[in-house]
Symmetry: C2
Subunit: 440 residues, 2 copies
């Protein structure tokens, strides 16, 4: 887990600020939940591997010695949302769109862009099964990434029931679906022959393997009249009702997306599976070429809230991973240069301790104009004070010597331009503000 | 621990926003640390009671069954700061002013304004022993509370070494200082006779008791020529060098504060003790009449960083308690009425599923003008959709019927004024923005 020094925090706040503004434009409302949940709320929601990765908190006081845990750190933001809906249902609107940007904790092995404490930026729409929900989520993600400066991301979409249907039609037994998906997920990395071998190793018969590869392989680039991926998959599951419904759902979402700012960003990918077990419908994932993992992902989960509420509420959500976005933005140098890297607009320097009161008065006047003001607290040599301001990239230094204090003036030094001018103290704030504007 | 629904989050963000802006104006820079610290970092820093209140995290994996903890949740923001300074010293400036607004966790019994997860809003200045540091902290606290709308708070100030000096001069043995402070702390509640009894019960002799009460009692209101509290205490410790230094320090701070926006807000109170053991100099606390606890507090702690770094760095900090500020502001109804309580500026209603694409296009156009737009996702009866908008206090509804879609127009309903008008879709954003401005 990491400390964030001032420059890190400002970059994080910059990204969170843009994501928040986009989420608000889509009518999502903020929600925050505690870092700590009852352990029963979390256990069993993320699979066996997830259970292992949950940070568990010891009972307190006399029960501490038992070595037992009754609380745990939040593992994602979706399960707490489901708990909130069950717990506060009467206070929540029938259609509830919420965003939540908070840290989660997983006892995972750290890797590039993967940390044990990391922020998720979630949006979820509860209460509607309309494909407009998925389309709006894709548009919101696209707007957020575009405003951050990304122009090369792809949102891949698939459907859980379509995956099931394809596997069934291909002749893979229901008990082998999980194994088959793990193998198919590697198509990009190990190619068709590799996947075929993996499928064979997992006991899937040749006929099924051939059928699967035929569906999942990208169209032959030499084909003069290629059939799109979605029509090809639709033809494959044409005899299966659930599969047809899933195809229609994906088609409806993609047609609506074409009307939004995400037009051209969303691509159907029948091999997209996504790990979490609670998805029931459309699933989505965002990738860029220079990051192995995803920048975000989500999907429809119509049954999860029912586990807490005893009554299903249709739900669909999307999550952006703050840390991964920051990794890529840092590597690509995507932050605006103007992002504050200095603690103040102006530093007040004093010549001796007797000037401290005058420095405090001047600071109050400058702050009242909205300036960020650092008062150098010790009457050290002026050269040393100016050197400090320079090292912190503070653009202006206000010098308060005995003459200035007597006359009610202040000498303002522009460190970059190496110029200085003396002002009435009451006029110094405006002069510095103007100087800041000119610097840009 | 609590969930924060949208209205709660907006109130919290409002308060945090004001506090952050004030802290930035004083040249403080943001820092964030992980929720989880190594357990050794925290144990022994908050006294025996503190150790009990720390949430401890079980070891993971094969070590989980041991029942042992190796990590713990952050208990305050000061000890993590000291650790950060030791760990990242080469990357930090010689004078480091940081703010940190993050949650901390204590396994305490909940009470009014006291929760097990709560936010602290800390500022700390590291690297200077100047009284300007304390004076600036008082001014920053005063500005933050004033901008939040408080006008009746008092910042009390005292000095740890002055307390020690008073007790020594009064003849209280060093081993009885802790007991004596606990008793004197109750002066407001149980009166002089009560305190005298408590002091006697704790084995403090009559001569010492009388001397203490003489110093700590407020001046007799019938006295025609009352002596101020600070001169009276200064006279009492006149023979004790450490006491004299402490008096001079308090005097210097108060003279500087008089030059800031906190002038008139700071009062010397020789009975202020504050619990935490790491303070070494000035201590401060902020109170309002209608809250038993404090809104915030702080002080100088010149030795804490040395526990991590092996080398002392002078330090002084102040912390505002977000939860207590929110409790008082809620009870006093201090939030601006304009604080958003609606998820959107405008809701788009559609008459049937075939209008979904047109709704998405219109939403994208309106959002591009900066409006917050909710698309009602299901083509239910228009009356039901408008009722939903009304219940969520969404001021405008955009109606997209077949005629509007064909004509490229939209009918905008102002729910409060019960008026409506039809616009070209490209002009609707500006019209709604104007309507929002007129509503104020």
């Amino acid at each position: 887990m990491r400390d964030f020094l001032p420059e890190d925090v400002r970059r994080r706040e910059y990204v969170i600020g843009i994501i928040t503004r986009v989420y608000e434009r889509y009518g999502f409302e903020p929600l925050e939940t505690p870092a700590v949940e009852n352990i029963e709320t979390l256990l069993g929601k993320y699979g066996e591997e997830g259970n292992q990765l949950i940070f568990k908190i010891l009972k307190r006081g006399e029960h501490e010695a038992s070595g037992q845990a009754d609380l745990a750190l939040r593992y994602d933001l979706t399960v707490p949302l489901a708990r909130v809906v069950a717990q506060h249902q009467s206070k929540l609107p029938r259609l509830f769109k919420r965003y939540q940007i908070q840290p989660v904790w997983r006892a995972d092995r750290p890797a590039r862009g993967r940390f044990r404490e990391f922020y998720q930026c979630d949006v979820d729409s509860l209460g509607s099964s309309s494909p407009m929900v998925e389309a709006e989520l894709c548009a919101a993600m696209s707007d957020a990434l575009t405003e951050l400066g990304f122009d090369d991301f792809v949102i891949r979409i698939n459907h859980r029931e379509l995956l099931t249907s394809i596997l069934s039609v291909a002749g893979v037994g229901a008990y082998q679906h999980g194994d088959a998906l793990v193998a198919l997920d590697k198509l990009d990395k190990i190619g068709p022959a590799g996947v075929d071998g993996e499928l064979a190793n997992r006991g899937i018969e040749e006929q099924a393997r051939n059928a699967l590869l035929q569906v999942f392989l990208p169209p032959d680039p030499g084909d003069a009249t290629p059939v799109g991926v979605l029509p090809r998959v639709a033809a494959f599951v044409t005899g299966d009702e659930a599969g047809q419904r899933a195809v229609a759902s994906v088609q409806a979402i993609m047609e609506l997306v074409a009307q939004t700012s995400a037009a051209g960003k969303v691509r159907f990918d029948p091999s997209l599976a996504r790990g979490l077990s609670y998805y029931t419908g459309a699933i989505m994932e965002i990738n860029v070429a220079d990051l192995a993992g995803s920048l975000g992902g989500g999907g429809r989960y119509d049954n999860l809230i029912g586990m807490f509420l005893g009554q299903n509420i249709p739900a669909c959500g999307f999550s952006l991973g703050l840390e991964r976005i920051l990794v890529v933005m840092t590597e690509r140098n995507m932050f605006p240069p103007a992002l504050a890297t200095t603690p103040a607009d102006v530093m007040i320097a004093t010549f001796d301790a007797s000037g401290a009161g005058a420095a405090m008065r001047l600071a109050a006047m400058l702050r009242a104009t909205g300036l960020r003001v650092l008062v150098y607290p010790d009457p050290e040599k002026i050269g040393k004070q100016i050197k400090y301001a320079d090292s912190r990239r503070i653009p202006f230094v206000a010098l308060l010597g005995d003459d200035e204090i007597k006359a009610g003036t202040v000498t303002v030094k522009n460190l970059a331009a190496q110029t200085q001018a003396t002002y009435d103290q009451s006029a110094a704030g405006a002069a510095i503000r103007q100087g800041l504007t000119q610097r840009g």
